[in-house]
């Protein structure tokens, strides 16, 4: 069986590292990026089933990532995380067809559950 591919983009190394560790435990293939530019380059090469991205990043931000992902792979789900529970950003993100939105710190269990939901909807 092919394993699901998850991409995690966050400008803080710890978020990617922790996410990778916990998601690999679930059997996913996980790739992490510290900013969006190389992540989008990688996305053009290969499809990912779920993209978890920070909302506020220098350069290309999470909304831009969302738009690019949706353009390339409409069925790929995007989960947005952000440092502050910013309501406006959340509303904008949800309007933009985001699968889920989490303020940081994100409970890993909830993120895993959200990813599972995202994957089951793709089937």
């Amino acid at each position: 069986m092919d394993r699901y591919r998850i991409m995690v983009i966050d400008d803080e190394k710890i978020v990617g590292d922790m996410a990778k560790m916990s998601l690999e435990q679930e059997g996913y293939i996980v790739e992490t990026f510290l900013n969006a530019e190389p992540a989008l380059v990688r996305l053009k090469e290969e499809k990912f089933d779920v993209v978890v991205t920070d909302l506020k990043m220098k350069g290309i931000d999470g909304m831009e990532v969302l738009r690019t992902v949706k353009r390339l792979y409409p069925e790929t789900r995007v989960i947005m995380i952000t440092a502050f529970a910013n309501l406006d950003a959340a509303i904008e993100a949800l309007r933009g067809d985001v699968h889920d939105f989490f303020p940081k710190p994100v409970k890993i269990k909830e993120l895993k559950a959200s990813i599972q939901r995202a994957l089951s909807k793709q089937k």
Binding site: V15, D17, Q25, A83, V106, K107, I108
Partner: protein, 863 residues
Amino acid sequence: MKNIIGHLKSILGLSRTRAGEPLSFKAGFNRFREVLDTNNRALEIITEMGDKLGGDYLFDINYIKRTYSELSSAVFSSIQSFDSLTQNKYPQIHGAFTRIDNQINRLIYDIVSSHSGMVVFYEDITWDMSRDVGGKNAHLAELKNYLKLNVPDAFAITTRAFDEFIKQNGLNEKIEALGKATAINKSMLDTLQDLIINADFPPELDSAIEKAIGKIKVRCGGKCFLAVRSSAEEEDSEFSFAGQFETVLNVPLEGKAVKEAYKSVVASLFSEKAVAYLNRLGYDIRKFKMAVGCMTMVDAASSGVIYSTNPDGDNNTLIINATWGLGKSIVEGQTDADLYMVKKDLSPEIVDIKPGRKEFMIVNLENGGTGKVSAPDEMIGKPCLTTGQAIELTRQAVSIEKHFRKPQDIEWATDRDGRIFILQSRPLTLPSVPSRQGRGEIRGFPSPLEGEVEWDAAILMKNKGIVVQKGIAAGRVFILRHMDELDNFPKGSILVSRYDSSNFVRVMPYVSAIITDMGTPTSHMASLCREFRVPTVVNAGNATEVLKHGQDITVNADDGSVTVYDRVIRELVESSAINHMKMEDVYEFRKKRYVLRYISPLNLIDPLLDDFTPEKCKTMHDILRFTHEKSVTELVDSAKYGSAMLKRHAAVKLDIPIPAGIIMIDIGGGLNITEGSDKAVFEQIISVPLRAIIKGIMHPGVWHSDMVLLKTKDFLSSMMRMSDITMDASDYVGFNVAVVSKEYVNLSLRFGYHFNMLDCYCSENAKNNHIYFRFVGGATDIVKRSRRVELIAAILKEYGFNLKIKGDLIIARLANTRQDEMENILEQLGRLIAYTRQLDAMLHDDSTVEQYARNFLEGRYEL
């Protein structure tokens, strides 16, 4: 006379003698509550941080910054209320706060140390300097300074010195480039190492090293050499880094030689294997700082390694490896050392000795450096430790393990006079089952399936060698003849070699299993294998002959049993392959989490010990503990001046059927009475703690109104002691006073010759609650008085009080207890106060103490 002064003071309202406006009790009480409130807010933040940083949440540095700033201001405002309550009685608490706050900010904002100089001697290393001197130096200094173990004279060259050294030689850019490179670039590393070896020393560092050498020279009489070894930031704290960096032994005590050695240790940070190791663990080479330790060499008769907990999993024994001369050969895994298994009892006992042959030994050479020589015939095969030494090593290892609260991997040596030295101590990575399954390779772990199934495969090896890391792995045999061949090691293969070597770390991320003919479970490589959870068997005898290069095999290394099959048994491997890498293995996680070390642990545990001081506060939690405890003391002290308060507050008499003679002062919500009333009955007591105590005092049968007759001797002794007793508590005399609020009581009672003082805060929030109980005096002779002390102590202990006893004074404390339990305990205290009122005259011999204590606890109160 004393009473007159006390009286005058109370008339003038000068209940406090310290400088500054004296606080009214009510104002003081309000400050006290502020301390409680802010402390609680701070403790809640600490709990939340512990939770969010516990590995169940994805968090980032912004979260830590934001939350810590909330914590820091809560603690700060607690200190402000505390200052106001105590009228700045403890100015040192500010120093403690600033020190810890700086420490935390340095971590959070990644501020490079300016804390220490370039060189620090071990005796000057304090607990908060581990970032300056590196983990290894910090650990050893702790053993020397705190546990007073015999650690050779030594100094640390700090991380600040490292920074300066790198900067002075313009190496930052090279390191930056290295950090940015996607793959390990050997030529970049070689260049960097060359530059380091040929680098110049910053003048400040140069002179600091020269000075340190001078100092050591004086102390050792000029005849010593140094061991120069790495002590990286995190080294020996979380990960062992075993054998990753260069150690230069027996360096002559002169500037040039020490500086050369320093450079080669620093250069080793940029070796291929070290960089691979760091990458694997997620370190950023650009931020990695290396301190160095310079320790005088022990002219070792024997040396070795202790595993303070048996890697077999038996917590009750430890193992000692020992060899003649220096221990270098053991940690490099190239000798058949002695193996002692010792029971870790109060009186340790050797359970098993397996002497090794030890035909060779490594010794210090006369002009520096070390050499391998043949052991004299009479020493070959002979155990190199005496029973006494093995037992002493065990004792020390146990104390080190206890101190660091983790099993330790300890390097030691004995000198020619048989004295024991501790050379290094780092956390022992115990074999863990099971582990991750890496990419590409097939690696798994024993499962219940194993043992019940017979595999259709020939067995190549059975029960040979020592299992270092359990596990199941399958792959192609790669027989390593020379270290150079590691460059061609195919991913996923099984490494089979004559010797073990810490160089194997280069292939650690993708080797499926390791089998060596020789080697010990205490070598560097063994530590690394456990760290990387690579199934590993050492000392397997002739694996390099039995197994053929290129052959497919499956290795099953279980508890002490090893089986090697002649084909890949995929089912066996897959049956147990689980990904078990832990969050603790993620470097960034550990690094960010490190901040909690200065926040959560509680070091100030017992307020009755001498080290309950601001200077001993190491964490924010300690500061909160200190301010809370001292706030209670302050409240107790200021409530003592009840007599002064009586002049200023309306006093209300407690009207109960027992002639306790208690006068109450309500400072807020303690009594339900109409204004102007001068007495209150039991039902009108709202104060939760007072109500519980009075309930206890009124409990049927505990208040004995018959006068117990004092014998003439008792009476005389009481007359003589009267002044002593009243001296200590002059303000109580004549009053039984209760200062109350809804949640608080301070009760001073004098019954006959007994003085009870009870201070209690009892609310819904357990964290706020405390009982402080003092009992002093007694009309009888010292023997009976001390029996009473014993009796009360025995009873209070039953209720979980923390006690301090001095003569016939008992101070008992209890805190952090739920309201319902508090009420229950207070009621028991009420009974105890009433019960013991006339008890000492009854305590004729020691056996009666136990009897009355038992009676009381069983609810039988007859005298």
